[in-house]
């Protein structure tokens, strides 16, 4: 038998991290203290590999009320309304237990948002799975979708969009990202700060059990190293997955918002990853005060739990409120109405004075408030002072050869008709399972370029404004060129918002990458952050929050770099719906934006869905060109926003040219409108399927007026054809029936899943 592993390593701490802990404490840590550092200094909680890179992102703008580092980013949306937004990953839990993994991902993100005082109003879910060719993928897809549906619908927050990507790099390590957006009267904004010596820390909601112990360290901060993918480790890690209870969460939301309405709390913090230790150390560190926590005061689900289990459990549906002692009776009464358990588990205390006379906010874990001190560590050393790593970076050696192998030079093989039909996929099978309409705000729901909501909700002042949301990613581009790929992903997202008339205001990101101990992965992450910085600076967008998910690997293989962009936009007047994907017989079809890519190729196929379907994963990624993009986007925003404000317009349809290229964009409008189109001969087969952002397919019933406006704005525009008939014809290359387009698109997902038995 091998000698037992030292405790700190079993907890995920390195030898040098143990040394740092000894320095902080000036003594040897006990085992409970080590456990606290183990979770708080995990990659998931501390961002120790990514933080030095994240500092390069632009985070400021006049309308930003709260930037990165808080529970959610917040912008001023106007009319006295603030909008909070946050995105997170729940990848590893979903790989092991897809229903609960996805469900608790939704629950966690909601708490981040109502922690800020905002009522959660919308959820979006970007999902990434392997190709649908085995029963395990079906189990993952159905489990994740039903988990989001089961939790989100019941808790009463509409799921208004997302993304669906299938690629074999996610076969063992699916990605489940969750974005939540909420709104609040601007003056109610609250932060997770403990203040006021003598105040009480009150634990609200569920009791604490053994579920999710070490979720952040065991699960989220290590890869799946089973040689056969995830399966060999599934059973061992399943107990680290939390179990969700949407009914508890619903009552918790209502109780917390009522506590804030009644001004009964001075600070509030959700309990997510790393549980009570995270919530108490973060609130104490932010407030510069000490916190005494009594482990015996915490309601437990089962007997015999050790203090480290109680402190690090990730049991769901819990919040920590800081209140004054005078308000305890009122808090208890309000919680009783909502059937939410409330227990005093901590006291805010004076900071300790160290030997140099400096104040140190101590987190003390005690057995009874007057009992033995089980652990005593500076709160900020847990929350903010994890060691930061500048890990080695290296451009992958094989990348040059991959980039050189560009499919844009390929001769077309087979039939463009079949290629087009093969690329169509209607995600309705997924989003039909989500309540997308609650709160009567959803003007444009899932399955379109971007979601568009009225800016309204219980307790908000009246506003005619709307908000728009989109999530976007393009791992195929990012694998070839993470910098340009990420920049173009931001551009794609801004273009999507333009289709619903909204001006982009703020970015959140969820950076899903492989193992940061692989220099190639760190290079991808760093490049990706630089690309996001370039795009955000170029387009004038602040990044107001994000999440980094590393160790997305299995069997030693990293996923393709998958930065997901969540974009929040605002439209000043929303009294009429945008035209969307519905044109009319006889309309002219126009292409707005540059016809050719800024690339070595006029119509680049590198990283496109068309090429990937053919197993061609190489090629060049187009350059990011902020100026050209911004001109086209501003023009489209102006056209569509005017319609939403109630003005007459000749524009009858608009759709961003995104994944699958021009042919897919045309086919999608054909499928939704039920009307065919006669489109001119294109330059080449590559023009059908090339992907580069900043292009829009639009319909107009007064093409001369439309072209004149585009000319005036200095935006390129080309006539593509006319709406009508029962076929989609694109020159001599494509000729398919409307019914074929519609039925292939509608059936693609459900049939693929059903075929997997």
């Amino acid at each position: 038998m091998s000698s037992p592993e030292p405790l700190h390593r079993a907890l995920g701490l390195t030898d040098s991290e143990l040394e740092s802990i000894r320095e902080v404490l000036g003594r040897e840590p006990n085992s409970l203290e080590l456990a606290l550092y183990g979770v708080m200094w995990s990659e998931h909680c501390s961002y120790k590999s990514s933080r030095i890179h994240l500092r390069r992102l632009p985070t400021e703008a006049a309308h930003v009320l709260v930037g990165p580092g808080e529970n959610a980013g917040v912008i001023d949306a106007g009319d006295g309304i603030a909008v909070a937004i946050r995105i997170e990953s729940h990848n590893h839990p979903s790989a092991i237990e897809p229903y609960q993994g996805a469900a608790t991902g939704v629950g966690g993100i909601l708490r981040d948002v109502f922690t800020m005082g905002a009522r959660p109003l919308a959820v979006m879910d970007p999902l990434f799975f392997g190709e649908l060719n085995d029963a395990r993928q079906r189990w993952l897809v159905e489990g994740v979708v039903s988990g989001i549906s089961g939790y989100g619908n019941s808790v009463g927050v509409p799921t208004i969009g997302g993304e669906l990507t299938f690629d074999d790099c996610y076969a063992s390590n699916p990605l489940v990202n969750v974005l939540c957006c909420g709104a609040l009267p601007t003056e109610r904004l609250v932060l997770g700060v403990a203040s006021g010596v003598g105040n009480l820390a009150v634990l609200l909601g569920s009791s604490t059990g053994r579920d999710g112990i070490g979720g952040v360290s065991v699960l989220a901060s290590a890869g799946f190293d089973g040689a056969d993918g995830a399966e060999s480790l599934d059973d061992a890690k399943r107990p680290s997955v939390q179990v969700g209870d949407p009914y508890e969460e619903k009552r918790l939301i209502e109780a917390c918002l009522a506590l804030l309405d009644e001004k009964l709390v001075v600070g509030i913090q959700d309990l997510g990853g790393a549980g009570i230790v995270c919530a108490t150390s973060e609130t104490a560190a932010r407030g510069g005060v000490g916190m005494d926590v009594d482990v015996t005061a915490i309601p437990l689900r089962e007997a015999g739990m050790a203090p480290f289990e109680i402190m690090t459990s990730e049991s769901q549906e819990r919040m920590l409120a800081i209140i004054t002692p005078e308000n305890w009776d009122a808090v208890a009464q309000l919680c009783e109405k909502w059937e939410v358990r409330a227990s005093i588990v901590g006291h805010v205390v004076e900071p300790t004075i160290d030997e140099n006379g400096r104040k140190v906010a101590m987190l003390r874990v005690r057995h009874g408030f007057d009992g033995e001190v089980l652990a005593e560590v500076p709160a900020s050393s847990l929350a903010d002072e994890a060691p930061l790593y500048e890990r080695p970076m290296a451009r992958p050696a094989s990348l040059d050869a991959t980039v050189a192998d560009d499919p844009s030079d390929d001769e077309p093989i087979g039939s463009p008709n079949d290629d087009l039909l093969d690329l169509l996929l209607d995600p309705a099978w997924v989003y039909r399972q989500y309540d997308s309409q609650l709160f009567l705000n959803t003007v444009v729901g899932p399955g379109r370029d971007a979601a568009l909501l009225r800016l309204a909700g219980p307790g908000l002042p009246y506003s005619e404004r709307g908000i728009a949301l989109s999530t976007d990613s393009n791992p195929r581009w990012c694998a070839l060129d993470p910098r340009a790929g990420t920049a173009l992903t931001v551009a794609e997202s801004v273009a999507n918002l333009a289709c619903v008339g909204a001006t982009a205001k703020a970015v959140v990101n969820c950076l899903n990458f492989g193992n940061p101990e692989h220099p190639e992965v760190m290079w991808q992450l760093s490049e990706s952050i630089d690309g996001m910085t370039e795009a955000c600076v170029g387009l004038g967008l602040p990044v107001i929050g994000g999440n980094v998910s590393l160790y997305n690997e299995s069997g030693g293989l990293d996923i393709d770099p998958t930065p997901v962009v969540g974009l929040l936009g605002v439209i000043d007047s929303l009294v009429a719906p945008p035209p969307g994907w519905a044109w009319h017989e006889g309309d002219d079809i126009v292409l707005v934006g540059t016809r050719h890519a800024n690339s070595p190729y006029r119509f680049p196929l590198g990283g496109t869905r068309w090429a990937t379907r053919r197993g061609r994963r190489g090629g060049h990624v187009p350059h990011f060109d902020a100026e050209t993009l911004a001109a086209a986007i501003d023009f489209v925003v102006g056209e569509i926003a005017a319609i939403c404000a109630g003005n007459p317009s000749d524009v009858t349809a608009v759709h961003d040219v995104g994944g699958g290229g021009l042919a897919v964009a045309l086919a999608e409008i054909v499928a939704v409108s039920g009307l065919g189109a006669d489109v001119v001969e294109l330059e080449s087969h590559a023009e059908l399927f090339a992907e580069f952002p900043g292009r829009f397919v639009m319909g107009t019933n007064d093409v001369d007026a439309f072209m004149a406006r585009a000319d005036l704005a200095g935006v390129p525009v080309a006539r593509l054809g006319v709406v009508g008939g029962r076929d989609l014809r694109i020159g001599s290359m494509v000729n398919v029936g409307v019914d074929d387009v519609t039925s292939r698109r509608r059936g693609a997902l459900g049939e693929s899943l059903a075929a997997l038995g």
């Binding site: 039903s146 549906s149 089961g150 619908n153 059937e339 989500y434 309409q437 009429a576």
Partner: protein, 227 residues
Amino acid sequence: MARIGVVVFPGSNCEYDAAAAVTRLGDQAEFIWHTRTDLEGIDGIILPGGFAHGDYLRPGALARFSPVMGAVERFAADGGPVLGICNGFQVLVEAGMLPGALQKNRGLTFLCQPTTVVVTSTNSVLTRAATIGQELVVPINHFSGSYTCDDDTHDALVRNGQIVLRYKENPNGSRDDIAGVANEAGNVVGLMPHPERAMSVLLGSADGMVLFEGFLGVKAAPFVLAH
């Protein structure tokens, strides 16, 4: 101005939307917490959608025992108009205030989508302002919305004109395409579609307006019991 009570169970989530539909038509909405037993001064009751008490057992199975339900039953027995939407419909059948039961959808998944319903009886507080054969686009949003009942009940529903709305294309496997039913008197109605989500062209449909106009008595004469 009518005073409409919107019952709120812990786990209800469409209460704000139902209240918005009421106030949109100029009436007054008032939330009624599920422990309340006094409905003095209330002119109509709406049981809104959601997941009352979590619905972990069977939709509506626990909510029927909430203290407010006794008061709702007395209110209905006195001829007061009661409308159950989605989860509210499930609560009304569990409480025995409407016949039949609601099972899981045919496809065993949750469904949120627009449907077209056809008005098949105007002998109810919900449909009295509509016309027979009128088609309305109203969304559904449920997992357990497949209406079922035994043959005798079905015969009685047909005979008495208690089937007030049918789906044009059946989304969930409901018997006889039933989307909404009334009690014999017509003052208690339940439906799975959400008319409160169809009150605005901006949001896709305003066809729910005619149903709320009926329920609130805006356009119709005060409802006269059929029996």
